[in-house]
């Protein structure tokens, strides 16, 4: 019976402890930028190094919201109209990881290329 309060409390603690460590990411991490223009990613390919943490900043220059979505990268993030969001990636193994703008899948397609 007492499980769920305990479990939720535990998760809340995990989440709280975690907040400061998120900022540690910003040190010495390479930053890559892409934009969304007319429901296309610009550029459509981002090449990043293997086995390293990187930060991908996606800025939405359209007047409509978009959702950065990638099952291979396991990332799903709404990019509100006219805003930019930060997506933390890696360390990743070499390979090609597709992503889409879920709200405009026909045009908004991109790839993260991970190279040694």
């Amino acid at each position: 019976m007492s499980l769920s309060p305990t479990a939720s409390a535990l998760m809340a603690v995990v989440a709280l402890l975690a907040v400061p460590s998120a900022s540690a990411w910003a040190e010495d991490v390479a930053v890559y930028r892409i934009s969304i223009k007319d429901h296309h990613f610009v550029p459509e390919t981002v090449t990043i190094p293997a086995n390293a943490k990187v930060t991908l900043i996606v800025s939405n220059e359209d007047a409509t919201p978009e959702e950065f979505d990638s099952i291979p990268l396991r990332r799903e993030k709404v990019v509100p109209a006219g805003k930019e969001v930060t997506i933390l990636l890696g360390p990743l193994k070499p390979g090609s990881y597709a992503f889409t703008g879920e709200y405009h899948e026909d045009t908004a397609k991109g790839t993260v290329l991970v190279k040694e």
């Binding site: 499980l3 990332r75 709404v78 360390p91």
Partner: protein, 272 residues
């Protein structure tokens, strides 16, 4: 119209699967439909608010607001489901007696109904807000007519609801003797899947290490993009490329719920 229908279908699918399992688990409970409907309505209103404040949520917590928001909702829902399963197990004997007496299953009393109604509401809140944002965007930008958009939304909605209804009706085919066991196991798997998803968001926020990433890649066997993969990802938490951290959260949540409900069950069978 088709694009609208597909996106709306995907978002509704996730809520419908949660609702299907919850409705089956609460089959026969007094006031079930009223409570679940109430949960859905509150969830829908919440979805509108979340969509409205998407920008502020996104900017919060050094740009990781969405991740923490999703983590909180998923962890809360998983906790509620876990609590309900254990409660149901503890009251298993009363329920069995009631079943014999009335021929009806499953949940005695309304108490877990509130919990499950909240779980459905949270699913609507999370997935609904994405659907609202999408439809808002398409209404704002696309050359599509209002009629086309409306038709797309309705087709997507109907499709998603149909999958949820099939799941619910399929579960009810199970004999009443086994329905309770099956639905509590399904609820436990649903909670484990939500916990794993929450862990995924914490990894995405840089708050937890992925440990091994990915732990496996079964995309060749079943893609999460397909209908079966999508349904299973909600229903039992299937992930084609999970991180080890997610697997740990999954196993931990499932283990705790099953162990606690087993303990609860044994306790309730002890002579008073």
């Amino acid at each position: 119209m088709l694009a609208t229908a597909i996106i709306v279908f995907r978002e509704v699918l996730e809520m419908a699967v949660v609702a299907g399992v919850v409705l089956a688990a609460a089959e026969g409970a007094p006031g079930r439909n009223r409570w679940v409907a109430f949960g859905m309505l509150v969830g829908l209103a919440g979805a509108g608010l979340v969509a409205l404040f998407a920008g502020s949520i996104s900017d919060a917590a050094e740009g990781m607001g969405q991740e923490y928001f999703n983590t909180a909702i998923l962890a809360f829902a998983a906790g509620l489901i876990g609590w309900t399963v254990i409660w149901m197990r503890q009251h298993g004997r009363e329920m069995a007696a009631k079943l014999k007496e009335t021929g009806k299953s499953v949940v005695a009393g309304e108490s877990p109904m509130y919990m499950l109604a909240v779980v459905v509401g949270l699913a609507v809140l999370r997935e609904g807000s994405e659907a609202v944002l999408f439809v808002y965007g398409i209404a704002l930008s696309q050359p599509e007519s209002v009629l086309d958009i409306t038709a797309g939304v309705l087709i997507g909605l109907a499709g998603g609801v149909m999958v949820g209804a099939l799941l619910y009706l399929g579960l009810l085919k199970i004999s009443t003797r086994h329905l309770f066991g099956v639905t509590s196991l399904l609820l436990a798997l649903l909670a484990a899947g939500m916990a794993a998803q929450a862990a995924g968001y914490l990894v995405a926020a840089g708050a937890l290490p992925a440990l091994v990433d990915p732990l496996w890649d079964s995309s060749w066997l079943m893609s999460q993009e397909g209908l079966a993969g999508r349904v299973l990802s909600v229903l039992i938490g299937y992930q084609e490329r999970p991180s080890a951290m997610q697997a740990l959260f999954y196993a931990g949540t499932l283990g705790v719920i099953l162990l606690a409900s087993r303990k609860a069950k044994t306790k309730s069978f002890r002579p008073a």
